[in-house]
Amino acid sequence: MIKGSFFILLFYFLGEMLSLLIRGFIPGSVLGMVLLFVCLFFKVIKPDNVKDAATVITKNMAVFFIPAAVGLMVYAELLSKSLFTILIAIAISTVLTIVTVALIQERFEKNRAKNGGPNL
């Protein structure tokens, strides 16, 4: 667990440094995630090094959202004023995203089954 925590914090730190280099274009945590994946993929570090800690914190991610979610109380007024706009925009966009992703992925799979195309 200590080892896992160390490696995750190490990759978080490296991600933050990289993020500073590119002027925060991509958040440090996302870069840390990519770096961790790449290092696991190329066997720079062993999966067992991070497995325990990574499993525990990703399984319970929702708990970490509490401070941010409670922060809503500060914006309650702004939020209630535009509730209609927010709900409509989110509903339409979410359905469109689901439709787009599902259709494109399935089309790819069907084409490959039909043509026996390259297995990329």
Partner: protein, 236 residues
């Protein structure tokens, strides 16, 4: 009554109480969620519904609550990093589908950002609102930092992410059925791309492959959206 509140306030505005209280409300949320199976009431929402009125009632302000629970907020960063391991664990599902997964999530991300910003604009939203809405489909820590960078309000974005997750979890399976999508990979990918962890929780109920791919989609969607938002920025 006010006198009593004044007396107990020093004890309940401590770090240990606030953290215990946060965990407790979440635990209660998990209990209610498991008992009722209502997707409308994810544990996080139950926590919020209890904590916000509690703070109002006891007269503790948000900065105090935030300060005492900031360890939880800090953990958002490491939890995103840890998704790198989850991605690696699911690599078997990725093989043979790399191009299609990247393409569909990329287009999905683009459609998601553009549609939410355009609809909000038509309905008269201002810049802050649009910047806060744009990253609504990605996992909260990424969404919040993207929102901040493009001039939105991170807390507002956190709320939109939750609303989007609840909606996608409810509507997703219905939309997929109406579309007649058979592929498990396509189903999981769509759920995770549109509604992050809450969509994934629902995808897990659909099946193991759907759940795993949905988890993968959270990470890819996060990266795609992080790459696209700086460009979409000019729209709002």
């Amino acid at each position: 009554m006010n006198n009593v509140l004044d007396q107990i306030r020093p004890f309940i505005s401590t770090e240990v109480f606030m953290l215990m209280f946060s965990m407790g409300t979440f635990l209660l949320g998990v209990f209610i969620y498991k008992r009722t199976k209502i997707a409308l009431l994810p544990p996080l929402l139950i926590s919020m519904i209890i904590i916000i009125p509690f703070l109002k009632f006891t007269g503790i302000d948000y900065p105090t609550f935030y300060k005492q629970t900031r360890i939880l907020n800090f953990m958002l960063g490491p939890s995103v990093v840890a998704l790198g391991y989850v991605l690696y664990e699911q690599i078997e599902h990725i093989r043979g589908n790399v191009v299609s997964i990247l393409t569909s999530v990329f287009v999905g991300s683009l459609v998601g950002i553009l549609s939410v910003v355009l609809v909000a604009k038509i309905l008269g939203a201002d810049h802050i609102m649009m910047a806060s809405l744009a990253p609504k489909s990605v996992t909260t820590p990424i969404a919040m930092s993207l929102s901040e960078k493009s001039g939105g309000v991170p807390s507002l974005t956190a709320a939109f992410v939750v609303i989007c997750g609840i909606f996608g979890g409810l509507a997703g399976p219905i939309v997929l059925r109406k579309l007649g999508i058979k592929s498990k990979i396509a189903q999981g990918l769509a759920m995770g791309s549109a509604s992050h962890a809450l969509g994934t929780a629902r995808a897990m109920e659909m099946g193991a492959v759907e759940g795993a791919i949905s988890g993968l989609a959270i990470g890819i969607m996060g990266i795609m959206t992080a790459l696209l938002i700086p460009f979409a920025d000019r729209l709002f």
